[in-house]
Assembly symmetry: C2
Homo-oligomer: 189 residues x 2
DNA sequence: TACTAAACCGACTAATCAATCTATAAATAT
DNA sequence: ATATTTATAGATTGATTAGTCGGTTTAGTA
């Protein structure tokens, strides 16, 4: 991604919080501009339309998340350890970037995100996941459609992050590892 | 719930589809009225405000879902069989009532649903789940916080329903049972 | 210093929104 | 039969919206 102007980032960050809180149509461009400390004219200088804003915001958020799991794969580690590292990185990202995580969650199947944006994100996502995927040693994992396992991993991450959001006092590595076991013991034979 | 006038139901059904497709603020009351085949005046006769409409729609949807799992508990069956019946009933509801399921998913933590509505739904929900909960025999289940198990069950249902939505050709009882095993083997020791 | 282009501003506009209002028609009660 | 309430419609209203426009400031460059 190209480096971003300061005001552009301010607008992205302001709209991130507002979109999560009130949704796409529930947030007016003037509110975003005010919250970002810029004029509406400036907003439309950086983003041609409100739709372009949310699409760029989606790309930006996904990019942030993917960067977190980019360097976690180590071929010398066991398959379980690698999956655990991936799962944990995603959960940690969700906890430390609550708004971004919720945004990705809420908007990944939203009609405002164009299919072009989705495709761009998916291609990137698949390339990064590839390393983990290749390690999918069939003998240790149940004979279940590959993409069901992937969806199930993401579902488990989402459940865990939301659980920690709801019960912050229970947020500790022990329960986190316990939650991973719920996933791992489910998929392993 | 009280019996509903015909037009009231038409409005609820029309708004269900539109809210899922375009969100709360993305759907205008005039669109809802048109799609329901009534005038806007009629809509506001049955629902004082747009917010009341979405709250009543939420109650109505949850009620439909809870009715599906109301009579499935049988104390003479094993704990696993009961949990399986619950899980399967929820997945089947999600498949057969796609819009309602997505609506519940999207709006259960939405700011438009008042805390009063949420409380009303939760109380009802907890009373129905109680039977299943009581059967939670600790010796068969991992020693994990009770509400994490509940969240994890719901997460597993959501993942499974969405998977079937995405891959309709893979929607069969075999894969459904396989998905249940992913959940069950995760929580059982 | 003088020129240019990009960044930035906020008043403005046409469209759209939730909700109201007035007017009938239908149903129910007396 | 008559009075009263309820159901329905659609035109209307004041507020709000996404996006524009003309002008000003800032930053880079010759």
């Amino acid at each position: 991604m190209e480096p971003m102007k300061e005001k552009e980032l301010q607008i992205l960050n302001a709209s991130l919080d507002l979109f999560v809180e009130r949704g796409f149509h529930g947030t007016s461009t003037s509110e975003i501009a005010k919250s970002a400390g810029v004029a509406t004219g400036t907003l439309f200088h950086y983003f041609k339309t409100k739709e372009e804003l949310i699409n760029r915001l989606y790309l930006y958020s996904k990019e942030c998340m993917l960067q977190e799991i980019n360097d976690d794969y180590h071929s010398e580690n066991s398959f379980k350890d690698n999956i655990n590292a991936l799962w944990t990185a995603l959960v940690d990202f969700g906890i430390n970037n609550s708004a971004m995580f919720q945004f990705i969650l809420s908007f990944h199947c939203s009609p405002y995100i164009t299919s072009l944006t989705k495709k761009e994100v998916e291609t990137r996502s698949e390339r990064i996941m590839e390393a983990y995927i290749l390690g999918l040693e069939k003998q240790k994992i149940k004979d279940v459609p590959y993409d069901l396992i992937v969806d199930y991993l993401w579902g488990s991450v989402v459940t865990t992050v939301n659980y920690f959001e709801k019960h912050p006092q229970k947020m500790n590595p022990q329960i986190r590892d316990l939650a991973f076991d719920l996933f791992w013991d489910g998929i392993s034979r």
